[in-house]
C-alpha cells in the first residue's frame, strides 16, 4: 500500500489538494451551523442552566438525562411521537404510492396532475394546520355539518380524535413529497420489464408486487427515511392544533416547553439531545438494516 501511496503523481496530489480546498467552504459552513449547535447542546445538557435562576448552575453530569428519562411525561410524549410517525408515514406511503402510480401512468394532462398533486406540499405547515383546525372546529368548522358526524363533536377535546385530525393534516401536507420521491423511483424502472412480465404471465397485481415493489425498494427506503425523520420531529401541527393538550404532546413540543417556556436550558437541551439520538438511531436503522443493497445486487 505504501508503494501505491508514494506512486501518486504531483498532478494527482495537487488535484486532490484542490478538491479539499473546493470542499472546505461548504465543510466549514456545515460545521458552523450543525456541529457547533449540537456540541453546545450536549455541553448545556450536562449542566444545570435555568435562566430563571441564573446564579445556580454548574456541571451536573447525566443528572438532566436521568430527570428526563425517569419522567412519565417523556415516555408518554415518546409514545405519542412514535405513534404519530408510524401511522402517518404508513398512510403516506400507501397513498403516495397510489398517487405516484397515477402520476406515472397519467396520459392526459400529466403536467396538470403532477402540479396539482404538489400544491399541499407548497403550503406553509402552520397555515395548513390552521386550515385543518378551522375545518374541525366544533362551532365554525364544516366537518361537523357533514352527514353521519355529530354536530357537537369536539375533535380536539379527546386524545385519539385529536390525533386523527393531526394525522390527517400531516398526511395531507406531506403525501405529495412522498409521492414525488416514489415517482422518481418508479421512473427508473424499465417499461420493458413489464412487457416481459406480461408475457411471462404476471397479472397486474403480480407485476406490482414482483417487479415494481422490489425494484422500488431503494426509493421506498429513502422516502421512508426522509419522512420518518421528518415525522419524528413533528411540532408545528400539534403546536397549532392542541399545543400538547389531551396528552397529544410530542417530544419536540416537550423540548420547546422546557427550553423556551420554562427557560430550563439544561433540561431542554437534554431532551433535544435525546431527540437527536432517536433520529440518529432511525437513520442508522434504515441505512444499515434495510437499505444496504440495491435490487440488482450491487451495494449502495
Amino acid at each position: 500500500m505504501s508503494q501505491v501511496k508514494t506512486a501518486i503523481s504531483d498532478r494527482a496530489r495537487s488535484e486532490r489538494r484542490l478538491g479539499w480546498l473546493l470542499c472546505a467552504p461548504a465543510a466549514i459552513a456545515m460545521l458552523a451551523v450543525t456541529a457547533y449547535p449540537i456540541g453546545y447542546a450536549i455541553v448545556l445538557s450536562l449542566q444545570q442552566v435555568d435562566l430563571r435562576f441564573p446564579d445556580e448552575g454548574g456541571f451536573v453530569g447525566l443528572q438532566n438525562y436521568g430527570a428526563v428519562l425517569s419522567s412519565d411525561l417523556w415516555w408518554t410524549d415518546l409514545f405519542n411521537t412514535i405513534f404519530l410517525s408510524v401511522i402517518s408515514v404508513s398512510i403516506e406511503l400507501c397513498l403516495g404510492m397510489v398517487i405516484a402510480l397515477v402520476m406515472h401512468r397519467a396520459i392526459f394532462g400529466r403536467g396538470v396532475v403532477r402540479t396539482s398533486v404538489l400544491i399541499p406540499y407548497g403550503i406553509v405547515t402552520v397555515v395548513a394546520a390552521f386550515s385543518w383546525q378551522f375545518a374541525f372546529a366544533p362551532d365554525t368548522g364544516f366537518i361537523n355539518h357533514l352527514p353521519f358526524i355529530a354536530d357537537d363533536k369536539d375533535w380536539f377535546g379527546e386524545r385519539f380524535s385529536a390525533f386523527s385530525v393531526i394525522i390527517m393534516a400531516e398526511v395531507w401536507k406531506t403525501t405529495p413529497f412522498m409521492a414525488l420521491l416514489l415517482l422518481a423511483g418508479l421512473t427508473t424502472i424499465d417499461d420493458g420489464l413489464y412487457d416481459a412480465a406480461k408475457v411471462d404471465g404476471a397479472s397486474a397485481w403480480q407485476r406490482f408486487t414482483r417487479i415494481t415493489l422490489p425494484l422500488m425498494k431503494p426509493a421506498i427506503l429513502v422516502a421512508l427515511l426522509f419522512r420518518t425523520l421528518d415525522a419524528f420531529r413533528i411540532f408545528d401541527t400539534i403546536f397549532i392544533m392542541t399545543n400538547g393538550a389531551q396528552d397529544t404532546q410530542s417530544v419536540s413540543i416537550l423540548g420547546y416547553q422546557q427550553l423556551i417556556s420554562r427557560l430550563n436550558l439544561g433540561l431542554g437541551s437534554a431532551v433535544s439531545v435525546l431527540i437527536f439520538v432517536c433520529v440518529l438511531f432511525i437513520a442508522v436503522f434504515f441505512v444499515k438494516f434495510l437499505g444496504a443493497r440495491q435490487p440488482d445486487g450491487s451495494s449502495t
Binding site: D190, A202, D296
Partner: protein
Amino acid sequence: MAEIVLDKVTKKYGDGYEAVKSMDLEIADGEFMILVGPSGCGKSTALNMIAGLEDISEGELSIGGEVVNNRAPRDRDIAMVFQNYALYPHMTVRENMGFALKLAKVDGKEIDAKVEEAAATLDLTEHLDRKPANLSGGQRQRVAMGRAIVREPKAFLMDEPLSNLDAKLRVQMRTEVAELQDRLGTTTVYVTHDQTEAMTLGDRVAVMKSGVLQQVDSPGNLYNDPVNLFVAGFIGSPSMNFIHGQVNGGEVELPFATIPLNDDLKGAAGGDREVICGIRPEHFEDAELIGDHLGDGVTFEAKINLVESMGSELYAYFESGSEESGKVEEAASAAGLEALAGGDAGQVVTRLPPESKAKRGETLKFWVDPDRLLFFDPESGNRLKS
C-alpha cells in the same frame, strides 16, 4: 407448438397513423419466420401484436387455430426475447428463468429441474445464482433465451435479440439461435433490421416496409427473385445496382454498355420501353479474369473512382454516366430506399476477386452477365417479369 396466422391484421394509432397495414402472413408449425425491414417499418409492432402487448385494430390473429385477438399475453402461451433482454434485475438467473413457471404455480422441484436443464443447454449452469448486472452481454442474452425455452411455449417471439451484442458475438449467437430452434422445433417469429441475420437464420423471410408486407419467401428467392425495387435493394450487401435503361429491339441500352436480352428478359420488358435495370455487384467481373466465359457476357470499359479491399474480395466503384439517374433516384425514393435516394444512384458497385488489378483512377475492362439482369418498372418500382 402451433401455427400462427395473421389475417388482414392492422394496427392503427389514435392519431390515424397505420403502423401495420392489412398484414396477411401464415407461419407454419415449427417454422422459423423472420420479419425484416428498416426501422419504423412496423415489424416490431407486428411482433408485439402477436405477443398481445399491442392491441390489434383490425383483422384476426390466430395461434394454434384459435383466434387470440382478445386474449392477454399470459393466455397466449408464447415466450418472448426482447432486444434489451428485459431481465428482472432483482432476481438471480435461476429466478429469472423460473419466473414464468412460478407464476403458473408449477411445482418447485419441477421448476428447478427445467431451469437446470435449460441452463445446461445454454452453458449457464455456473451463473445460475448470479444477478443479471454481473453477467456479460452474451450471458444476459442467453438468460433471456433460457427464460423463453423453460416454458416450452407454443411459439417464440424474438425482437432483435442479437442487436445489442458486438459483431463477433452476434455471429456466434446467430448460430446458437439457429441450432436451438432447429432442435426444439418451436414456431419462431424473429424480428431484425439486419438483412444478414434474416438471410442466414430463417426458413422464410417476410420483408416489410412502411407497415406493408412486401414479399414473403425463402432467403434464396428473395435474393434472386425480388418482387420490387425495395426488396431488391434491401436484401444483399453491397446493395443491388439500379441503372436507368432503354429496351430497344431485343437489347437494353445502359449508359455504359448495350446488353442483348434473353427470352425471359424480352418477355419481361414486353416491347421497347424505359426500365430500371438491377444488377448485383457480383454479376460484374474483371474481364481479364473471366477466362473461357468471356464470350458469354458483355464487356465494357469504365473508369474506377473507388476501390475497397475486403481481403477476400474487392469492391470497385464506377460512375454509370447515366443522364437519367434522377429517375432512378426518384423510383428508389418512392420505393423507400433511402441510400439511393440520397444521390448514389449514378454509382455502380462491382464485386471483384482479390486478384483483380482494379485501381482507383484507372480504366478497367468489366464483364457483365446478361442473364442476371432484373427489370423494374420506373413508375411503380415493381419487378417486370415475363
